[in-house]
Amino acid sequence: QQPVQSPQAVILREGEDAVINCSSSKALYSVHWYRQKHGEAPVFLMILLKGGEQKGHDKISASFNEKKQQSSLYLTASQLSYSGTYFCGTVVYGGATNKLIFGTGTLLAVQP
């Protein structure tokens, strides 16, 4: 049930681009993306709703393909501040209660 992310880890130089993928075995209605810096709490980046729209947040954007049950996070011209672990989260709807199931995580390290 846990979404699978790829790659597990990626090392970049400042200014390089990266793509992080998130795949689910279940139908997706929405996808969350969070970033967690070392020793800190996860911080919300964006939500993508059903409809395939692409959202942006500074130089970080994401797409959502509900047919393929996948989402991708695009980091453009990476900065040192982008380093951290990125998690996708998929919402499991259960009547009155909805659960956010986090993916396996992708560790991103940006080097000078």
Binding site: E40, A41, V43, Y93, A96, T97, L100, F102, G105
Partner: protein, 113 residues
Amino acid sequence: DTAVSQTPKYLVTQMGNDKSIKCEQNLGHDTMYWYKQDSKKFLKIMFSYNNKELIINETVPNRFSPKSPDKAHLNLHINSLELGDSAVYFCASSHTGRGETQYFGPGTRLLVL
């Protein structure tokens, strides 16, 4: 102003002890959560409360008991601590609990010796 706060930040204790972690949010949210993040960084939901009512209770040992005295507070009490309970425990909150953005507290790093 801290949105979601947790105490303590660090907790080091012996096996068999009982300990509590407290969480408070000042965002006016109706829903609060407890997550466990293990050494592999997997973030797993444990419990969720909506307006003081328990709505999500994942497969968690009975030694873990959450309590919500009001919708701004959610505590986690752990009895008879085991080595495997060592992890970072995050509290989070969201507006209604229907799949919207969640705001996380700074985490409590629990080490059981």
